[in-house]
């Protein structure tokens, strides 16, 4: 079959058009992923930023006799509905600690009820018509306003959304991560040093390598089953504690640290080792004094990334009971505690509308920490990376 030049050039044009179509489609795919990222962050910011503001109300507190028993009595009945019940409950205690207050009055900014807060932010609220009018009047006169939400950063969990904060979860996260690092970092680095610098290339070494790659791909929830069956049921580590959470996460982080450390060790050129051997160092001395110091930035970067991964992990922690309700902030390795992602999970399950905002607020805090950690890892790598 013969073709004219016109046919061929038309065909060629078609082929080139097809080629550029592939380019645009693939570019669109990348754009789609980017678009999702933008939408995701916009959604989280719009949902979560209001959580950093909370309605406060200026009220006149009248510390009369009744207030010793029932805090609500200290408030004007008209505004007492608008004040957070969590604050009202504190009043009898305040009077007990400082009996001199009884009989005095005080002007004070106090936490408003979450329904008031939601109304001010323009969300659905269960306030009645009268209450809405009162709120509007108070806003007019400047006695009710949105202020920076310090409670969110200084309190533990609460069933009342206006009083719920992330501090208990943040402390729990720090404790858990301390345990994780204390276990995973030394063991991970030692394993990597063994595999890269000491191990002979035999079946046993290959078994360890395959096993580590496999561990990295095992679903995280199975680590939770391990934690439950072995750490809690067999070794008797206290359930829900930072200790058992940290141990479980350490096993999950181990492969990340091992793989990163091996890459860092491998990037140290052999000439360094040869020179050290040449002046009579033993193998361990070569590793300790020359290879490890040069690989430190890479090891640090890998460990930070592993830590960030462990910090966002929730599934195994749910299995070992770290979704506890923790209203009090306390640093302990063995008491029941919770972590930031678990707190987010708990709040996401609360029915009140106000908790959606808290959840998104908690997510923003968690994401900022993770971004900061990853940025630190990138900076560390940029600053100390050496090209040989």
């Amino acid at each position: 079959m013969s073709q004219s030049f016109d046919d061929i050039s038309a065909q060629l044009k078609r082929r080139h058009r097809k080629s550029s179509r592939l380019k645009w489609i693939s570019m669109g795919a990348l754009g789609l992923a980017g678009l999702f990222l933008v939408l995701f962050f916009a959604d989280m910011l719009s949902k979560g930023l209001p959580a950093f503001q909370q309605a406060y109300i200026e009220v006149e507190l009248d510390y009369n006799e009744d207030a010793q028993r029932m805090g609500r009595a200290a408030l004007d009945p008209e505004v007492s509905r608008l004040v957070s019940r969590s604050f009202e409950r504190l009043i009898p205690g305040m009077l007990r600690d400082d009996p001199g207050l009884i009989g005095t009055t005080e002007q004070r900014w106090v936490l408003a009820d979450s329904e008031v807060d939601q109304y001010l932010k323009g969300h659905r609220s269960r306030l009645s018509e009268d209450e809405r009018e009162t709120v509007d009047e108070l806003v007019e006169s400047g006695r009710l306003e949105l202020q920076f939400n310090t409670t969110f950063f200084t309190e533990g969990d609460s069933k009342m959304p206006e009083r719920a904060g992330i501090l208990a979860a943040a402390v729990g996260t720090v404790m858990t991560m301390l345990v994780t690092l204390a276990i995973a970092f030394p063991i991970g680095v030692m394993t990597a040093v063994y595999l890269e610098e000491f191990a002979p290339d035999n079946r046993f070494t290959q078994l360890i390598e395959i096993n580590i790659n496999n561990l990295a791909a095992i679903p995280s929830i199975l680590f939770g089953l391990l934690g439950l069956a072995i750490f809690i049921n067999f070794f008797g580590v206290p359930r829900s504690s930072a200790l058992v959470g940290g141990m479980t996460l350490a096993l999950m982080t181990l492969p990340v640290i091992i793989i990163a450390t091996r890459t860092a060790l491998r990037s140290v050129p052999d000439s360094i080792r040869h020179a050290a051997f040449g002046v009579g160092c033993s193998r361990w001395q070569v590793v300790r004094d020359h290879v490890l110091p040069l690989a430190t930035p890479g090891i640090m970067t890998g460990s930070i990334i592993g830590l960030a991964q462990a910090m966002g992990e929730t599934a195994p922690l749910i299995i070992i009971g770290m979704v506890a309700f923790i209203p009090d902030v306390g640093a302990s390795f063995t008491n029941a505690s919770t972590v930031l992602p678990a707190q987010i999970f708990t709040w996401a399950g609360e029915p009140e509308r106000a908790f959606v905002e808290k959840t998104a607020g908690g997510i923003l805090v968690l994401l900022s920490i993770l971004i900061a950690l990853n940025a630190a890892a990138v900076v560390l790598r940029k600053k100390f990376e050496r090209r040989w």
Partner: protein
């Protein structure tokens, strides 16, 4: 408190013995050297050997004792155990110091000890795998003693219902109601995984093609880390996003087409999970496409193929084993993903082919079984381990197949960075 005090005293004494060992060892080595004989190691190395000889036996004795107590249930008084460890430490100290002789190679001895410590560390990862395997198998076997394995694999009704009554000793009242047929759970899992793959594989693969074949260097250095951000977002955050933002959108869209959709539909978690997996597929495929030798592209272009044809007919077929391996890894990850489905998918086991209905997955049931206030011995709690066992086997085989495929690719093109 008593134990804590004992432990504090024990560590204090052990530390003291270590210090004594160090200084005794160094002093003796210095003395021997001063007497003029040639030593085969430095005084510090003798000192460290003495420290290791002191601490090693003490840790060995106390850990063996602790293991005997845990595994065999033998009751050894803590005081006796710690005292025994200290005696071992003292003996070790004496041996360690007596070994300070010119002919003794302290450095090599230390080296040996360190190597064994490193091997022990490397073994922990193996223990972890076996720990997972044994803990799951052991509890799963207990489950299969209560309910038949065949029913578990082929049953189409998952209704743990009143199985907790059995643990409470009232088995007659509700035992007949409990059914553990896992088919609906696996159907739900595969449905959500399939939706995730429908999103992740095309988008991930096309992004990888764009980044490795078309994009200018600047776009590439920017796009890669940006995509990685998607992988760094915690799954609990994705779960919230899927449940609060994506699911209502899906319901609205379905409503627009006159379809009825549940708020716990399978599409929302599937799509969000797919997005989460995009960077996974794109970065692996990117690596694979980049390691297809340039000579193949040049050959194809020299024959007059357009760039698109080169990619479609030469590069992608060459990279296919790697791409399939990446996709298998992605499937294994989607199967085991927990938080997104726990928060966005339904709780009701539902055997259906309609992704707009609510359906549940294996991981959701594992979480549900283990977070309730149930007795650990109950069939429902133990069923979590049976489900975990299946999950483990499936993901393990997917991972192994994927490793084998990537190895074949590597051997074919002799690349080492994969």
């Amino acid at each position: 408190m008593q134990t804590n005090q004992l432990l504090a005293i024990f560590s204090g004494v052990l530390l003291l013995l270590g210090l004594v060992a160090f200084f005794l060892g160094r002093a003796k080595a210095a003395r021997v050297r001063a007497s003029g004989s040639a030593m085969s190691a430095q005084p510090e190395q003798y000192a460290w050997f003495a420290v290791l000889a002191t601490a090693g036996p003490a840790f060995a004795v106390s850990s063996v004792g602790a293991f005997i107590m845990l595994l065999l249930g033998a009751d050894i008084p803590t005081f006796l155990l710690l005292a025994g460890s200290l005696v071992a430490a003292a003996l070790g100290l004496m041996v360690g110091v007596s070994q300070v002789k010119p002919a003794f190679h302290a450095r090599q001895a230390i080296e040996k000890v360190i190597q064994w410590i490193l091997i022990a560390a490397a073994l922990i990862s193996i223990f972890t795998t076996f720990g997972i395997l044994f803990s799951i198998i052991f509890e799963a076997l207990r489950f299969f003693r209560m309910h038949s394995f065949w029913e578990f694999i082929t049953g189409t009704v998952w209704n743990p219902g009143a199985s907790f009554l059995a643990a409470a000793g009232r088995a007659e009242e509700g035992a007949s109601a409990a059914q553990f047929g896992s088919v609906p759970l696996f159907a739900g899992t595969f449905m959500i995984t399939a939706i995730a793959m429908l999103v992740a594989i095309p988008v991930g693969l096309l992004s990888a093609i764009y980044m490795s074949e078309f994009a200018p260097q600047r776009v590439r250095t920017l796009a890669k880390p940006t995509l990685e951000v998607l992988a760094g977002i915690p799954t609990v955050v994705y779960g919230f996003f899927a449940a609060i933002t994506v699911a209502p959108i899906i319901v609205d869209v379905a409503g627009f087409f006159g379809l009825d959709s549940s708020f716990n539909n399978a599409v929302a978690p599937g799509v969000v999970m797919g997005v989460m997996i995009i960077p996974f597929i794109s970065s692996l495929s990117d690596d694979v496409i980049n390691s297809v030798p340039d000579s193949m592209r040049q050959g194809s272009l020299a024959l007059g193929m357009t760039k698109g044809e080169t990619i479609r007919d030469v590069v992608i077929p060459a990279a296919l084993p790697g791409i399939i391996s990446a996709s298998l890894l992605a499937v294994s990850r989607a199967l085991g993903e927990t938080m997104i489905v726990v928060m966005a998918a339904g709780m009701r086991p539902n055997l259906t082919a309609n992704p707009l209905e609510d359906m549940t997955t294996v991981t959701v049931r594992i979480v549900a079984a283990l977070t309730g206030d149930l007795e650990f011995e109950s069939a429902e709690t133990l069923s979590a381990f049976a489900l975990g066992l299946v999950l483990f086997i499936v993901t393990l085989s997917l991972n192994l197949v994927s490793v084998l495929m990537i190895r074949r690719f590597r051997e074919k093109y002799r690349v080492n960075n994969l």
